[in-house]
C-alpha cells in the first residue's frame, strides 16, 4: 500500500516536472501578480475633482471657491461657465462633482438669511460619490462655524477665536492611516492562492480521462484513495512553496507585517490550500472534458471568491440568502483568519473555528472526489 502510494506520487511529480512551463508559472507568476496588483489596487478615494460654477461672483462666493482650492482631498477643479458645461463635464466623467453658487448667495449672507449652495455629484461610482458628499458637508460645516466666529464677530487674530462647539476626535485602531492596502493585501493573497491551487488540480483527473490514460490507472491495483492522495501531494508542495514566496513579497514590498504567529499562519494556509486542492479535484472528477472543468473552475471559484469572500465587499452588507452562500467559500474563512493574524495580531484562540471549518472542507471535498472515482471504477 505504502509502496503504491509512493509510486503514484512519483508519477505525478514526474508529470509536473515534464512540463516546466506549467511548473514555472505555478511557482513564480502568483508572486508577480501579487506585486503587480498590490501596487495597483486601492480603494482610497483621493483626487476628487470638483468644479465650481459661480453665478454670484461676490467676495463671499469667491471665498468659497478659494476654500475648495486649498483642501487636500480635492484636485483643483476648473471654474465652469454654464449649467450645460457642468452637466457635460459630469457625463463624460471629467468632474466628480460640481458646486453651484446661486446669484443671491452674497446678498443672502449679508442680510443674515441662510444662503444655500447646490452640489451636483456624479453618483455612478458610489464610493467616490459618498466620500465627496462627506467631505463637502464637513467643509461647509466648518465654514458655517467660521461664519459665526470670524465673519460675524471679526477679531484681530482671526482663526484663534475659532473653536467648534464639540471637538470630534476619531482614533483608528490597527490601521491608523486607513490605508486600504492593509485591508486588501490579505484578501489578495488568498485570492491568488485559491486560483492557482484550484487550477493546478482541476484538470488533473479529467485530463487522464480525456487522454484515455485513466483506463490504465483503473486497471492498476491502486485504490481510489491512493489516486487522490497521490494527485494532491505534489501540488500541495508546490502551493506551499508559492505561499511562502507570496507572504515574503507581501511583507517586504507592501510592509504588511505579520503581527501574529508565523507558524499559525502557515498552518492555516496549509488547511486552506488543502481545501482548494480538494475543490479542484472534485471539479475534475465531476466533468468529462478539460474545457468544462476550466469553465466550472472559473465560474465557481474566480468570481465568487473575489466578491463573496469578504475580500472587497463586507459580508455583513449582503442579504441573508447571499450570506448563507458565503459559508461555502473557503476563502471567507481564510481571509478572516489572515486578517486576524496579520493586522490584529490575534492568537490561536481566535482562529480555531476557521481552522476546523477548513479542515472539514478538505475532508469533504477530497472524500467525495475519491468516492466518485471509486464509483466510476466499479462501473467498469
Amino acid at each position: 500500500m505504502k509502496l503504491e502510494l509512493r509510486a503514484m506520487i512519483r508519477k505525478e511529480f514526474r508529470q509536473v516536472f515534464r512540463d516546466p512551463h506549467t511548473l514555472g508559472i505555478l511557482l513564480l507568476v502568483p508572486m508577480m501578480l501579487l506585486v503587480l496588483f498590490g501596487y495597483a489596487i486601492s480603494m482610497d478615494v483621493d483626487n476628487i475633482v470638483v468644479g465650481v460654477l459661480d453665478n454670484d461672483k461676490s467676495p463671499e462666493s469667491r471665498r468659497i471657491t478659494e476654500l475648495f482650492r486649498v483642501l487636500d482631498a480635492f484636485s483643483p477643479g476648473e471654474s465652469l461657465l454654464s449649467p450645460d458645461e457642468a452637466e457635460e463635464a459630469l457625463v463624460d466623467g471629467r468632474l466628480n462633482a460640481v458646486l453651484i453658487i446661486p446669484p443671491e448667495f452674497g446678498r443672502d449672507m449679508e442680510a443674515g438669511r441662510i444662503p444655500s449652495v447646490q452640489l451636483l455629484i456624479d453618483g455612478s461610482n458610489v464610493l467616490v460619490a459618498s466620500t465627496t458628499q462627506g467631505y463637502v458637508d464637513a467643509m461647509f460645516f466648518d465654514l458655517s462655524l467660521r461664519l459665526n466666529t470670524e465673519w460675524r464677530v471679526p477679531t484681530a487674530d482671526g482663526d484663534a477665536t475659532f473653536t467648534p462647539p464639540i471637538d470630534f476626535r476619531p482614533r483608528t485602531w490597527f490601521n491608523p492611516e486607513l490605508r486600504s492596502t492593509v485591508f486588501l493585501i490579505p484578501g489578495l493573497i488568498a485570492f491568488i492562492m485559491v486560483i492557482t491551487a484550484v487550477l493546478s488540480t482541476a484538470l488533473s483527473v479529467v485530463r487522464e480521462k480525456e487522454k484515455g490514460t485513466m483506463e490504465m490507472l483503473d486497471a492498476s491495483p491502486l485504490s481510489s484513495t491512493t489516486l487522490i492522495i497521490g494527485k494532491t501531494i505534489p501540488f500541495m508542495v508546490i502551493s506551499m512553496l508559492e505561499t511562502v514566496f507570496i507572504l515574503i513579497a507581501g511583507r517586504f514590498l507592501f510592509g504588511v507585517e505579520i503581527s501574529g504567529s508565523i507558524s499559525l499562519l502557515l498552518g492555516i494556509s496549509f488547511l486552506f490550500l488543502l481545501s482548494c486542492l480538494g475543490i479542484g479535484l472534485l471539479i475534475s472528477t465531476v466533468v468529462d472534458t478539460q474545457q468544462s472543468a476550466f469553465l466550472l473552475a472559473t465560474i465557481s471559484i474566480v468570481l465568487p471568491t473575489m466578491i463573496l469572500s469578504g475580500f472587497i465587499y463586507p459580508i455583513r452588507n449582503m442579504p441573508i440568502p447571499v450570506q448563507a452562500v458565503t459559508f461555502l467559500i473557503p476563502a471567507r474563512y481564510f481571509i478572516s483568519a489572515e486578517r486576524a493574524l496579520m493586522i490584529r495580531g490575534a492568537g490561536a484562540v481566535s482562529i480555531w473555528p476557521q481552522s476546523v471549518v477548513l479542515l472539514g472542507f478538505s475532508i469533504v471535498t477530497l472524500g467525495i472526489s475519491s468516492l466518485r472515482l471509486g464509483i466510476r471504477r466499479r462501473k467498469r
Binding site: L26, G134, S144, P165, I166, I192, I299
Partner: protein, 367 residues
C-alpha cells in the same frame, strides 16, 4: 465549407453534457449572486456607545447617532475600562465615548472632546463611517453654539446626485458584471478550443481537409460568438427583470459595443491558444495573464485613476478597461456616441491587432 466546420463544433459542444448548462445558467446565476453581494455602502456599522456623562445632552447625542441609517447600536456601557472587552464581545467596529462633564462643558461653550474609536482594518467603511459620525456630532454641537443670542449662521448644502440618486453600489456593479461574465465565458471557451485539437491529435485531420486556415478559425469562433451574444442578451434581461436596472442610453449602441468587446475576447482566447502547448498551459495562461489582470486592473472594482503611472500604462492594452467605461456610461449616464467614440475606437484597434497577431501565429504553427 465553413458551415460543416461550425456544425462539427456545435456537435462537439453538445456532446459535452455539462458544458451547455454551465454556459447559459452560470451567467445569470453569477449576476444574481454577485449583484446582491457587491455592496460597499457603509451601513450596519455596529457602534458601541460609552456614556460616562449620563446627562440629557449625552443621551440626545446618542439618539442622533443611532437614528441615522449608518449605525446599528450594539449597546451602551458606562465604564471606560470595559471598552476593549465589550467591543470584542459585541463585535462592535466603532465606539463613541461621551466623556464626563460633556453636557456641562457643551452648555458653557468649553468645546468638549468626543473621542471616537474605530477598527480600521476595513479601511473603506471605516473612513466613510467616521466622516458620517463626525458630521452628526458636529451638527449636534451647532445647537449649542455660543454666538450672542442670534440664531447661528450657516450655509445649506443641497446635494443632488446624478445617475444613481440612491447611491446603490449594485447599480454601479451590474454593468461591470456584464463585462466580467462575458469576458470569462468567451475566454474560457476559445482559449482551449484550438489547443484541444492539438492535444488530442485531431488538428492533423482538420489540416488535411480542404478547409482553409480561415475556415478552421471562423468555424471554431462562430459558435462561441453566438454563445456570447446569447449571454449578452440573457444578462441584460436578467439585470432588467431581477434588479430593475434599465439602460439609460441606447440599447442598440450598447449591443454594438458589446459585439466589439466580444471580438476582442474571442481574439484573446485564440491568441492564448496559439501560445500554449496543452490545455493545462492554456488554462493557466488565460487565467493568470488575461483574466486576473483584466479583473484587477481594468477598473472593475479598483479605480484606474488611483493606480501608479507605470501600471496605468498597462491598462491601456486591456479591452475591458474601455468596455467598462462604455457599459457604465450607457447604463447609468445615458452616454452616447459623442462621449464614447474614443473608447470604441480603442477597442476596435485592439481587436484588430489581437486578431491579426493570433492569425499569424496560428498559420505559422500549422506550417
Amino acid at each position: 465549407m465553413i458551415g460543416h466546420m461550425i456544425k462539427k463544433e456545435f456537435r462537439q459542444l453538445k456532446r459535452d453534457k455539462r458544458m451547455l448548462p454551465i454556459v447559459f445558467i452560470a451567467p445569470v446565476f453569477q449576476l444574481l449572486l454577485l449583484g446582491f453581494a457587491a455592496n460597499l455602502d457603509p451601513q450596519n456599522i455596529s457602534l458601541l456607545i460609552c456614556d460616562l456623562d449620563r446627562s440629557p445632552q449625552s443621551l440626545e447625542l446618542s439618539q442622533e447617532i443611532v437614528a441615522s441609517d449608518y449605525f446599528i447600536p450594539v449597546g451602551t456601557i458606562y465604564n471606560l475600562s470595559e471598552i476593549a472587552q465589550e467591543m470584542e464581545r459585541r463585535k462592535a467596529s466603532a465606539t463613541m465615548i461621551v466623556p464626563k462633564g460633556f453636557g456641562a462643558d457643551l452648555k458653557a461653550g468649553r468645546s468638549p472632546v468626543i473621542p471616537y474609536l474605530v477598527d480600521g482594518s476595513d479601511s473603506t467603511t471605516a473612513a466613510i463611517a467616521t466622516g458620517y459620525a463626525g458630521n452628526i456630532v458636529r451638527r449636534y454641537g451647532l445647537k449649542y453654539l455660543n454666538a450672542d443670542s442670534l440664531p447661528p449662521l450657516r450655509v445649506d448644502v443641497q446635494s443632488r446626485i446624478f445617475f444613481n440618486p440612491a447611491l446603490v453600489s449594485r447599480d454601479f456593479m451590474i454593468p461591470g458584471l456584464l463585462a466580467l461574465v462575458l469576458m470569462v465565458i468567451t475566454l474560457v471557451l476559445t482559449s482551449l478550443a484550438v489547443v484541444k485539437e492539438k492535444e488530442l491529435g485531431t488538428m492533423e485531420q482538420l489540416i488535411v481537409t480542404p478547409l482553409s486556415t480561415a475556415d478552421i478559425i471562423y468555424g471554431k469562433l462562430i459558435p462561441f460568438a453566438m454563445i456570447g451574444v446569447l449571454d449578452i442578451l440573457l444578462i441584460m434581461a436578467a439585470s432588467r427583470l431581477i434588479f430593475g436596472l434599465e439602460i439609460a442610453g441606447s440599447f442598440l449602441l450598447l449591443f454594438a459595443f458589446s459585439l466589439l468587446f466580444l471580438f476582442n475576447t474571442l481574439g484573446l482566447g485564440l491568441l492564448v491558444s496559439t501560445f500554449s502547448g496543452n490545455q493545462q498551459q492554456a488554462m493557466m495562461a488565460s487565467v493568470l495573464f488575461v483574466m486576473l489582470p483584466m479583473i484587477m486592473l481594468s477598473g472593475f472594482v479598483f479605480p484606474v485613476e488611483n493606480m501608479p503611472a507605470a501600471i496605468r500604462v498597462l491598462t491601456y492594452a486591456m479591452p475591458m478597461r474601455y468596455y467598462l467605461v462604455i457599459v457604465r456610461g450607457i447604463y447609468l449616464k445615458g452616454a452616447g456616441m459623442s462621449e464614447l467614440w474614443e473608447e470604441g475606437l480603442a477597442m476596435l484597434i485592439l481587436g484588430i491587432l489581437i486578431t491579426v497577431i493570433s492569425l499569424l501565429r496560428f498559420r505559422k504553427r500549422l506550417e
